[in-house]
């Protein structure tokens, strides 16, 4: 026995394996997905700080320039809010679709996310054009600078989101993602909902308040 202990050799009969290969792989995959989710939340956290500071800067000039604030188009941005909320709903509908194995619902919902994202951007471009026509520009003063920096930066995030959604949509058409493997959709969803959350803040604090 002492010789067995000394050499570290233990007979393997009646010894069950602690982890089989499949379990090990599954555990690693799950841990990896949880790490990825934590990473994207950290990314969104850093984005929150960036937008918070921009909103704070906008609040600084918001009360000093009531004439410029009166130019903002509330009915149009209200419609934009519904469009973005609708797109967020389509993202979770797509997620529910792929989780249930319903590919038709999944791809249709993703298509609508792309379409609604483009509609939102169209509204924003139109709003910027009207404001520019009325004299409010990026270089027209503190209000214009703060407003266009904030809303433009948000619009830039929507552009990234639309491109990302298009990529996810094309991958979905190519047969990627399954009921058990759809992390890509979930991560895109987190980003898109974050963009929606930022718009909720902007719409209320900058436009309505």
């Amino acid at each position: 026995m002492q010789s067995e202990l000394a050499t570290g050799t233990i007979p393997s009969q009646n010894v069950e394996p602690v982890l089989v290969a499949g379990e090990n792989a599954h555990a690693g995959h799950k841990d990896n997905s949880e790490n990825k989710k934590f990473a994207i939340w950290l990314f969104l956290s850093s984005e929150s700080i960036l937008f918070s500071v921009m909103i704070a800067a906008m609040l600084l000039v918001r009360w000093q320039y009531p004439e410029e604030h009166a130019l903002l188009n509330i009915p149009l941005t209200s419609l934009s809010s519904f469009v973005l909320l609708g797109s967020s709903y389509m993202v979770v509908r797509a997620l529910a679709g792929i989780q249930a194995g319903n590919r038709k619902k999944f791809t249709r919902s993703l298509f609508l996310v792309v379409a609604l994202g483009i509609v939102f951007l169209g509204f924003q471009v139109y709003e910027f054009q009207v404001l520019a026509h009325e004299g409010l520009r990026l270089n027209s003063g503190p209000f214009g600078f703060a407003f266009f920096t904030l809303t433009g930066f948000h619009g830039f995030h929507v552009i990234i989101g639309v491109v990302w959604a298009l990529r996810v949509f094309i991958n979905a058409l190519n047969g990627q993602f399954t009921a058990t493997d759809h992390f890509g959709v979930e991560f895109f969803g987190l980003y898109w909902h974050f963009v929606d959350v930022v718009w909720i803040f902007i719409f209320t604090i900058i436009y309505l308040l």
Partner: protein, 118 residues
């Protein structure tokens, strides 16, 4: 210690008692993440968000209570999106802090800058 004892000890590695086999709260939340809310909850959340947005626009016509009502409605909308659409309600608690702390920092920055407003 005999060789039989060593064999039994090695065989016990990886075996869990019934109590240990029960998922911890964290493990339970991980399981729930995969399922999350059902589509009925998603649709109800969307309808509620749309209703709150309409309420926000209507509230702007109430001069005295406009600001507090708008902030309340905004917080409710953010909570709905983050809890149900982003599944934070079903995720690990640490992710809630990762989201909430930067927002609190933003509020502190806003309050710190507020004396500059003339």
């Amino acid at each position: 210690m005999t060789m039989q004892d060593i064999r039994e000890a090695v065989a016990d590695i990886g075996q869990t008692s019934p109590e240990e086999a029960k998922p911890t709260p964290t493990q339970q939340s991980d399981v729930e993440v995969g399922h999350g809310p059902n589509e009925g909850i998603y649709f109800s959340t969307f309808l509620l968000l749309a209703a709150l947005t309409v309420a926000e626009v209507l509230v702007t016509y109430i001069p005295g209570l406009k600001a507090p009502l708008l902030f309340g409605l905004m917080v409710a909308k953010v909570w709905l999106v983050v809890s149900f659409f982003m599944h934070l309600r079903y995720d690990r608690p640490i992710l809630r802090w990762v989201f909430v702390i930067p927002i609190l920092l933003g509020v502190i920055v806003s309050l710190a800058l507020s004396p500059l407003v003339q």
